[in-house]
Symmetry: C2
C-alpha cells in the first residue's frame, strides 16, 4: 500500500519488482498482528490439533502426481508445484486446451508474445559505455532529425529577415544544450541509483512538484512516440513520396509493432540498438562533412534561400517560438541520468563520460545541420524533410541518400521505443507511491509492465491520429512537458546541493541553477508563444494528470488506513440473541444510523465475534436448489430459505412443496407484486441485517453453469445480478453454489 515504499523494491529509484504488489508489513502493523494473534489464541486450537483435522494433504508435492491433467479454459492452468515440491525444475505446461478456439488463442498469444518468463529472468544487464551510448542516446540524437527543421520552419514565416536569426537562435540552443548537459552531470553524481525527474523533484521539492515533473515526463513520452514516428515516417515518405497518403496508417502500424515487441519484453536488445544509432551518427557526420566540403568548394558562399514571402512579421514572439521549437532537439537528454545503475562500475563515472560524449555529439550534429541549412538555403516544406533535402543536394539520389534516410528512420523508431521503456517505468514508480492504479505495477508474464505499455500505445495512437501524423503539428505540444520536467528536476538538484553541502557543492549548485533557469525560460517561452497553437493541450494534460494522481493517492490512503491491521478494541460481542436484539433496539431508539453500525461491523476480525446465518435463495425445487440447501445445512449453522414469488397462488404452491419435502429448514416467502426478483431479495437481506446487525449473513445462491459459455445466456442471470446488488451491503457474504450441467 501507500507505506510500502521502503521494502517493496530494490533501491529508492528502481522500478518495483515482481513482488511489489505484495508489500510487507510495517513495525506498527506487526505489533497489531501480534495482538490479533493473541486474541485468536484464546479460541483457536493449537497447530497440533488442526494439522490432523485437515481432510487433505495441502502439500501437493507429496500427493501422487495426477494421472490426467485437464487444462482449464484457454489452457491457462499450469500445474505449478507448490513450495514443498521442486520449484527449480522446468515446469510442465498443461495439456493443450480443449476446443479449437482455445488452442488458436493460446497459439496466437504465444506467437505474438512468446513463452512466459520466470521472475528470476529479471536480471539487470550492465552496459559498457560503447553499448550504453547508442541505447541511451537514440532518443536525444534522433531529435536533430526534427529540431533544426522545426526551428527554421518558424523563422521562415518572417521571410529572409527571419532566416537571418538562424544563427543567433541556434547558438542559444547550443548554449542551452551545454548548460543542461552540465547540469545533468551533477544529477548523475548525486543520484548514482538513477535520478529521474520524478525522483529528484519529489525528493527535494515535495509531492506536487514531483507529480508535475512526472506529468511533464509522461506527456513527453507520449509525444516522443508520436513525434518520432511522425518524423520517421516523414523520412520514409521523403524518399518514397507515393507512400505519403498512408502516413497515418504506417504510423499506427509502427505503434502496433512497438506494442507487441515491448509486450514480448525486448529489453536485452543492446545490439539491436547499437547498429541504427551508430549508423545515424555516421550518416549525420558524413552529410555534414560532405556538405561542408561542397560549400568550401563555393568559398562558403551561402546559396540564397528559395524566395518566400513573409506571412508573419518578425517579432519577439516569433523568435521565442523558433527557440522553443528548436529546443525539441534536446529531448531525451535526461535518459542517461535515469539509467545510471545500468552502467558497469564505477557506474556514475561511466555514466558521466557517456553523457559528455552524447552532449558533444548532439551539439556537433545540431550545429552542423544548422550550418548546412544556412549554407544551402534549404527551407522546410510539407513534402520533404530538411534532412532529405540536404541529403539530396549533397548526394543526389544514390545509395548514400538512401542510407541517410534509412538511418534517420531507424533511429527515430528506436527513439520511440525508448519511450516504451521509460513511460511504463515512471508509471510503475507512480503506482508504487500510490499515485496510479496498482495494475501498472504488475509485471506481465514476459516481465514487462504490460498495462503501462498498453496505455502508452493507446495515448500515442490517439495523439498521432488526431494530429494527422504531421511532425509540424505535433511540435508545439512537445517542448512544454519536457522543459517542465527539466526545470523541476534541476531545481530539485539546487535544493539538494543546498541541503547537502558536500565537496564541490557550490560548483554543482551553480551548474544546476543555470540549467534550471534556462529550462524554465524555455518552458515559459514555449507555453506562452505556442499556447494557442497546441501547447494548451499539453498544459491541460499536465493539469489533469496532477488532479487524477492526487485523487488516486487520496483514495489509496483512505483504503490503506481502512485495511490496516489494528489491535482489537471492541469487547467480545454479546452472544445470546436476546442481548443482541436488545442492543439493537437501543441503537435504533438512539437514532444511530446504519453507517455507524456498518463501519463497526467492518472491523471484526476474530472468529468468535462472527455470528452466522445462511440465507438460501430458492427459486424452484430442483437439484441445483437442493445442492445449495444441502450445502447450507451441512455447515451446521442456522439456515433460512427465502423464496420470491410473483403471485400469492404461486407462493401457496411453493409452500405446499416445502411441506411435502418435510419442512426441514425454515422458509420465508416474499411476494413481489412487481415481478422483480433481485430487488425484493436484496431488500429482505437488508431488513434482516437491520434487525440483527451483529449477524454476518451468508447469502447462498444456486447457479446453473453450462458446459459451453455460449449457452449461459439461456439460463437465469439472477445469481450474477444478485451478487452485484448484494456487494454494497455490510456484513453480507455471498456464496455461489454452482450446478454444472
Amino acid at each position: 500500500m501507500v507505506d510500502s515504499r521502503g521494502d517493496s523494491h530494490a533501491g529508492p529509484g528502481g522500478p518495483p519488482g515482481p513482488d511489489a504488489l505484495l508489500p510487507g508489513l510495517g513495525q506498527e502493523q506487526l505489533g497489531s498482528l501480534d495482538k490479533i494473534g493473541r486474541a485468536w489464541g484464546q479460541v483457536s486450537a493449537p497447530p497440533e490439533v488442526w494439522r490432523d483435522a485437515l481432510p487433505v494433504d495441502p502439500n501437493l508435492g507429496t500427493f501422487p502426481p495426477p494421472t490426467e491433467i485437464r487444462a482449464a479454459r484457454a489452457g491457462r492452468v499450469l500445474p505449478i508445484p507448490p513450495l514443498g515440491g521442486s520449484p527449480g525444475e522446468r515446469l510442465d505446461v498443461a495439456e493443450p486446451p480443449q476446443g479449437r478456439a482455445g488452442r488458436a488463442r493460446v497459439w496466437a498469444r504465444r506467437a505474438a508474445l512468446g513463452e512466459a518468463l520466470r521472475s528470476s529472468a529479471l536480471v539487470t544487464e550492465r552496459m559498457r559505455k560503447l553499448t550504453a551510448l547508442p541505447v541511451l542516446s537514440a532518443d536525444a540524437l534522433s531529435s536533430v532529425a526534427y529540431g533544426p527543421e522545426a526551428m527554421v520552419a518558424v523563422l521562415v514565416l518572417a521571410g529572409s529577415a527571419g532566416l537571418a536569426y538562424t544563427f543567433p537562435v541556434g547558438g542559444a540552443i547550443l548554449f542551452l544544450m551545454l548548460a543542461v548537459g552540465l547540469s545533468y552531470r551533477q544529477t548523475i553524481r548525486a543520484y548514482p541509483h538513477g535520478g529521474g525527474s520524478y525522483i529528484v523533484a519529489s525528493d527535494n521539492l515535495g509531492q506536487v512538484p514531483g507529480l508535475l515533473a512526472a506529468a511533464g515526463l509522461m506527456t513527453d513520452y507520449v509525444l516522443t512516440v508520436a513525434v518520432s514516428i511522425a518524423s520517421g515516417v516523414a523520412a520514409i515518405t521523403s524518399a518514397l513520396p507515393s507512400l505519403a497518403p498512408d502516413t497515418v496508417l504506417i504510423g499506427v502500424g509502427v505503434i502496433v509493432v512497438l506494442l507487441v515487441g515491448n509486450l514480448r519484453g525486448i529489453r536485452q536488445a543492446g545490439a539491436l540498438f547499437a547498429a541504427p544509432t551508430y549508423a545515424f551518427i555516421a550518416a549525420m557526420l558524413l552529410l555534414i562533412a560532405f556538405g561542408l566540403a561542397d560549400a568550401a568548394g563555393r568559398g562558403f558562399e551561402p546559396r540564397p534561400a528559395s524566395p518566400s514571402s513573409a506571412t508573419e512579421s518578425l517579432g519577439l514572439l516569433l523568435i521565442m517560438r523558433a527557440f522553443s521549437s528548436g529546443a525539441t532537439a534536446m529531448t531525451g537528454i535526461e535518459a542517461i541520468s535515469n539509467a545510471v545503475p545500468a552502467f558497469r562500475p564505477v557506474e556514475w563515472r561511466n555514466a558521466r563520460t557517456t553523457l559528455t560524449w552524447m552532449v558533444g555529439l548532439l551539439m556537433a550534429m545540431f550545429a552542423g545541420i544548422i550550418l548546412l541549412i544556412h549554407l544551402t538555403g534549404v527551407v522546410p516544406n510539407a513534402h520533404e524533410t530538411v534532412l532529405s533535402q540536404l541529403a539530396h543536394l549533397t548526394f543526389g539520389s544514390g545509395w548514400l541518400y538512401v542510407f541517410i534516410q534509412a538511418a534517420s528512420a531507424g533511429v527515430l523508431l528506436l527513439a520511440a521505443n525508448t519511450a516504451y521503456n521509460d513511460f511504463p517505468r515512471v508509471l510503475s514508480l507512480l503506482a508504487r507511491d500510490a499515485y496510479a492504479p496498482r495494475i501498472f505495477m504488475r509485471l506481465g508474464d514476459r516481465l514487462a509492465y504490460s498495462n503501462g505499455i498498453l496505455l502508452l500505445s493507446l495515448a500515442a495512437t490517439l495523439v498521432f491520429v488526431a494530429f494527422g501524423g504531421q511532425t509540424a503539428a505535433l511540435i508545439p505540444l512537445y517542448a512544454v512537458g519536457v522543459f517542465l520536467a527539466f526545470t523541476l528536476s534541476q531545481s530539485g538538484m539546487v535544493v539538494h546541493w543546498w541541503r547537502l553541502r558536500d565537496r564541490h557543492w557550490r560548483k554543482s549548485l551553480v551548474f544546476n541553477a543555470a540549467g534550471a533557469l534556462l529550462s524554465a525560460v524555455v518552458f515559459i517561452t514555449a507555453g506562452v508563444s505556442k499556447f494557442f497553437s497546441g501547447a494548451w493541450v499539453a498544459i491541460i494534460a499536465v493539469g489533469l494528470f496532477l488532479l487524477i494522481t492526487l485523487r488516486i493517492r487520496r483514495h489509496y490512503e483512505t483504503a490503506s488506513s481502512a485495511l490496516h491491521l489494528r489491535p482489537h478494541t471492541a469487547d467480545l460481542p454479546t452472544h445470546t440473541a436476546e442481548e443482541a436484539s436488545l442492543a439493537q433496539q437501543r441503537r435504533i431508539l438512539a437514532g444511530g444510523n446504519r453507517r455507524t453500525v456498518a463501519v463497526g461491523g467492518e472491523t471484526e476480525e476474530l472468529p468468535q465475534e462472527i455470528n452466522l446465518l445462511s440465507v438460501v435463495a430458492v427459486a424452484t425445487l430442483d437439484l441445483a436448489s437442493m445442492r445449495a440447501l444441502a450445502y447450507a445445512a451441512s455447515s451446521l449453522q442456522p439456515v433460512l430459505a427465502v423464496h420470491i414469488s410473483v403471485t400469492e397462488e404461486e407462493a401457496r404452491r411453493f409452500r405446499g412443496y416445502w411441506t411435502r419435502w418435510g419442512d426441514h429448514l425454515p422458509l420465508e416467502i416474499v411476494v413481489s407484486p412487481y415481478r422483480a426478483t433481485v430487488v425484493p431479495l436484496v431488500h429482505y437481506v437488508e431488513a434482516l441485517h437491520r434487525q440483527h446487525p451483529e449477524l454476518t449473513l451468508t447469502v447462498i445462491l444456486p447457479e446453473v453453469v453450462t458446459r459451453h459459455r455460449r449457452h449461459q445466456f439461456l439460463h437465469s442471470r439472477t445469481a450474477a445480478r444478485l451478487r452485484r446488488a448484494l456487494r454494497p451491503l455490510p456484513k453480507v457474504v455471498v456464496t455461489t453454489v454452482p450446478f454444472h450441467l
Copy 2:
C-alpha cells in the same frame, strides 16, 4: 422447464403469465421430493427445534418498521412487505436514491416507462365487435396502402401489356382473400381459446411445422413493422416531399416511439386504435366513391397510363411476382383468429362476425383501389405513393387530400404497433415451450414482455435501415414468411378436422384445404419468383430460426433432466478421511476419469453427504484478509489458507508473518514463478479436488468494495477473475467476503 407447459399458463393458447418462470413440479417430481425429504429427515432436526435456533425473526412484518430506509443503487430497492405483512396495501416507494446520477436515472425511467404495475393489473379486457374491428384489423386493412401498389409496380415493368393483367391478377388476389378468410372462420370455431399459426401447426402437424409457422410469423412481424413504417413514412413524404431525404431517420424515430410506448404497456388502448382505423376506412371509401363518380362523369373511360417503356418481357414469372407482391395486401388477416378470447361472449361467434366484416372491407377497398388505378392510369413512382397520386387526382391538394394521407399514415403506424403486441407474445409461447431463451417469458415491471419488444425493435431497425426504408425494396421479403405461416396453419386445420370429424367437419375441411392450397401456391410463387430480389433473406431467416430454436430446446431438455429431482440412489458416503482417501486411491488406480467423478458429485443433495473444506485465498495480511479468515474459522469447518507468492523471498516473509500471527490456521504457500495469481490458485484447487473428490471445497475470497463504483478499478480484480475461473470446477463453491471501504 420443458415439462411446465401444463400448468404454467392459463389456457393452452394463452401467453405465459407472470409466474411462468416459476413452473410447478410434476407428479414424478413430487414423488422424488417425498423420498428426498425422508432422506433429509434421517439427520435434520424437526421444525420445533430449528424454529427456536434461528437467530432472526424471518417474518419482517412483525419486526418494528425501520426508522430509516436507505435505497440501494438507483433506488431500485422497494421495501416490499413479505407474505406475513399486509400485501394488499399500497407499497411505499423507497426514499429517493442518493447521488444525482441515480436520481436522474430513476426520473428518466419513470418519465419514459411510467410507474411499475402490479401483477394483479394483468386483466384481460373483453372487446365488443365495434372495438375489436379497428384493434384487430388495423394490420390487415392498412395493407391496401402498399399491396395494390406493389402489384402494379411489378406489372408496369412489362409496359402497357403488363398493365393489362391488372384485373386478372387483382381478381386472383380477391379470390385468395375470400378463401383464406373462409378458412380462418373454421379456425375460430375450432380454437375458441385463440388459434395462432404456431399453436395450430404444432398441435396438428408436430414440432417442426409448428416452429416453421412460428418462424414465418416472426419474420412476418419484423417485416410488418419495417414495411408499415416505410409505407407510413412514404405517405408523409408524398404530402411533404421535403422530408424525403430523412426517410430513414423518421422511420427509426417511429420505431423508438413504438418501443417506448410498448415498454410502457399500451395494451388497453382500444379507443386509441378505433379513431385512426375508422378514419382510414372512411378515407378509402370516400376516395373510391369520389374517384368512381369522377370516372362515371367520363363514362368510365380509362385514362391511358403515362407512357412507360417495358423494361422486362411479360412472362409467367412476372405475373407470379405481381401476384405474390399484391398478396401482401392480406397480411394481418390472421389477427382475429389469434385473439378470439379477447371478444365478449359468445367469443367465437363474435370473432367470426368481425372476421367477415374485416374481410369484406378488405376486399372492397382492394377492389376499389385496383379499379381506380385502372381508370386513372396512375402508375407507381419513387417519389409519391399510388394512394397519394389517386387522392391528388380526385381531391387536388385540399383538406381531403391531407385527411387521406394522415389517415393512411396513422393506420400504418397502428399496424406496426400490432406486430409489437404479437411478436413478443409468440416469442413468449416459444419460450414457454423451451424453444427460446426463458428471458422472453419475463413480464417487465409494466407487464409487457420487455425483452421481446426490444428484440423486435432491434430486428426491425436493422431491416429498415438495411433496405433504406423503401417499401418497394422490402416487399419481396414480406410475402414468404406470411404465406408459410398461413399454409402450415391451414394444413394443420385440415388435419384437425380429419381427426375430429364433428358436425360440418367436411365443409370446414374443404374450406381449410382450399385455403392451405392457395396459401401454398402463394408461398411457392413468392419464394421462386422473388428469390433473388430478396426472398432469400426471409428463407435464410426462417432456416436459421428453425436451427436455433431446435438447439435451444435440446439444451433446455438436457438442462431440465440434469436438474430434475430424483430419488437418492447413492449410498451414504464413507465418513472417515482414511476410507475416503482409500476409495479415491482405488478410483485413480482403476483409471476412472475426472468427468465421472464430477458428474457423480453433482447429484448430491443431502447435507450428510457433504464434507466441507474452506480454502481461503490470502494475498496480504490486512483487515480484509483477516475478516475472510475469521469468517472461515467461525464456520467450525476445516480451513486451509493459501497464499500465492511470486518470489521465494516473499514466500518466506509471508510465512514469517503467519508464524508471528500465531499459526492459527494451516497455511500453504504456492510459488508462482510466472507472477500469475489466478492460474496457480485455480490449479491448486483443482489438485485438491483430485486428491479428495468427495470434499466440497469452499474457496473464500476477500474482496475490497469501494464506496463509489468508479474507484473499483483502483483495486485488484483478482477476486472477480478467480470467481470466473473457478466456476467450471466441480464441487467448488465460491464465497466472496466483502470489505467495504
